[in-house]
Amino acid sequence: MTDLAPAPTERAARSIKNPRLPQYAPLIALVVAVAASALLGLTLGWGVIPIGIVAAIFYLIGLTTWSRIIENARAATDRLVTSLVWVSLTIALIPLVSLLWKVIDEGKGALNGKFLTYSMRNVIGEPGGIYHAIMGTLLITLAAAVISVPIGLLAAVYLVEYGAHSQLARWIRFLVDVMTGIPSIVAGLFAYALFSLIVGPGTQFGIGGGVALSILMIPIVVRSSEEMLKLVPADLREASYALGVPKWKTILKVVIPTAMAGIITGVTLAIARVIGETAPLLIICGATDSVNLNLFHGQMASLPVFIYGSYTQPGSNPEILKQMAWGAALILILIVMALNILARVLGKLFSPKTGH
């Protein structure tokens, strides 16, 4: 609501020409709108949400009309748009707050030592644990990272150091961008189709999930690594060449270490991005109640699939399983947040020492 304060000279000039609303006019309009809406809402017995909506409408109409009367039509339009921009920001953030609140509120009751260290094997009629799902998620994501990081990083090196402006590099860059838009379920179907043909029809196992996730992860790794490699100053490379160091050694010993901080940040963010994927794992990894630490054999549980299964097919104890789903959702969000924070910390930690 804070309108930028006009510079003193500007204000003086305006006061000669046109009457202006006071600087705190939006605030007054907001207070009046909320008060009027609350009064109306409380007499008619509305909830908080309708009161909020009506207050927003009152505010938009009130401030615009006020400005139109005191100022002019152009100023009124400007105020209307300014208000609309702020209203749209509020609308966008309300769901986020509501979502985080709901997950924390419903999920915190499920958290305890057993929840994190037991699986759901032979658990009937009582809360079990999500150890199997956490381990599954970690293993599958690790597999995805092991596949994606070398391919993604090497491809980024090719784009920056070797391909540069060649036709092939241009196509790779473009198609990598297109690949970021592949629906996650299509990646899952691809892994399923691939392993159906290679291993046998209907194969479901953990490594398939790794392959599916790496389809989603590689483009992110390539793009972020490419950006980081591009930032390495050409001086560093040239200094190294001048010393007679071969190009490949320059890349490995000078270019990549310099860009390391950014690359690690990018990889961590890519992991955070795919760790919550549900759809591909639902198809290629299946689900199980037991701990399965073998990526190459048997169905594997994962947190997102566990949340989905427990909430939509809770079986005979819906209350218990739904609570567990919320608890697992809370854990999943915490993992994603932790990865996001970790990305920043690692970025700082690995940034090249200036050495003074």
């Binding site: 709901k102 090497l154 090719y158 196509w171 838009g181 590689i218 060449y241 198809i283 949340i307």
Partner: protein, 310 residues
């Protein structure tokens, strides 16, 4: 750049360079092969579905009539989501790039990115448990006052698990990507253009209309298309929120809703066997092709304008 390939002084090619250069090229080619592989393997596994009968296609006589309603649902949900998300994203992007004081803008940008970090399955939970029930009275009100509009014909759903609710959740999920791109483009508007508009006496909105929006038009279009690609392929939120029956209807608020390709796959894949799975994979191929075309065009628009902006 290096003396290894072009220099006259050292004609010998180092083995290390040869190996490393080809290794990186191979990695780049692997990505292209993987992309082609997605199309190829889905086609190979999808082909048997052309011979599928009504048993495997939920009563539909052939693959076309099986996929068509799903395509309809997918497009409907994605388009509604976009209609909600794009204006909202423009508002949010403008608030970050042109309205908020700098310190607040960074925080707000981070919060919007947080929306992108929430896993889709959690959006699904929130959609069923919070958004759906909250919208039931709205749907009932719409059904009783606006039932002459085909979209709100009713009868209103009692759980709120309608295609409209699913579209709102989808809108939230595409909001961050559309915001991120438009905000970047708005921030790139030449400062001189903005100041020229302001110097001519334009209000802030007139400045945005005259300088910022025309400059960012292609960016807005491609951001919207990338959002569309995301909304078309989003699976879990729709699979969980929507109570789908696979019909074709314009009614947005009733208990019988069209399904989407992605949601249909997620919901029925586990129980499907044999040719039914091939049919699902074939529908996945259709989804892949649709999103590929959408993303391809969006990126083509972006890359056309990229050299100028750099």
């Amino acid at each position: 750049m290096s003396t290894v390939t072009t220099g006259t002084g050292s004609p010998k090619r180092r083995l290390g360079d040869l190996v490393f250069a080809n290794l990186t090229r191979a990695a780049g080619l692997t990505i292209l092969i993987a992309l082609a592989g997605v199309g190829i393997f889905l086609t190979v596994e999808g082909i048997p579905a052309f011979g599928a009968g009504p048993d495997d296609l939920k009563g539909h006589s052939n693959l076309l009539t099986y996929v068509a309603p799903l395509v309809f649902g997918t497009l409907l949900a994605a388009v509604i989501a976009l209609l909600i998300a794009v204006p909202l994203a423009l508002g949010v992007a403008l608030s970050i790039s042109h309205y908020a004081p700098r310190r607040i803008a960074a925080g707000v940008g981070y919060l919007v990115d947080l929306l992108a970090a929430v896993p889709s399955v959690v959006y699904g939970l929130w959609g069923i448990a919070v958004l759906g029930p909250k919208l039931v009275p709205v749907y009932k009100w719409l059904a009783s006052h606006f039932d002459w509009i085909p979209f709100f014909a009713g009868p209103a759903s009692n759980t709120g698990r309608t295609i409209f609710t699913a579209s709102i959740v989808l809108a939230l999920m595409v909001l961050p990507i559309v915001t991120a791109i438009t905000r970047e483009i708005f921030a790139q508007t030449p400062r001189l253009n903005e100041e020229a508009a302001l110097a001519l006496g334009a209000t802030r909105w007139e400045m945005i209309r005259l300088a910022v929006l025309p400059y960012g038009r292609s960016g807005i279009v491609s951001a919207a298309m990338l959002g569309l690609g995301r909304a078309l392929g989003e699976t879990m939120a729709v699979a969980m929120v929507l109570s789908a029956s696979g019909v074709v209807t314009w009614n947005l608020i009733s208990a019988t809703n069209p399904s989407t390709i992605a949601a249909n796959i997620a919901l029925t894949f586990a129980d499907a066997t044999g040719t039914a799975r091939n049919a699902l994979i074939a529908s996945g191929l259709v989804l892949f092709l649709i999103t590929f075309v959408v993303n391809f065009s969006a990126r083509a628009i972006v890359s056309r304008y990229e050299p100028g902006s750099k």
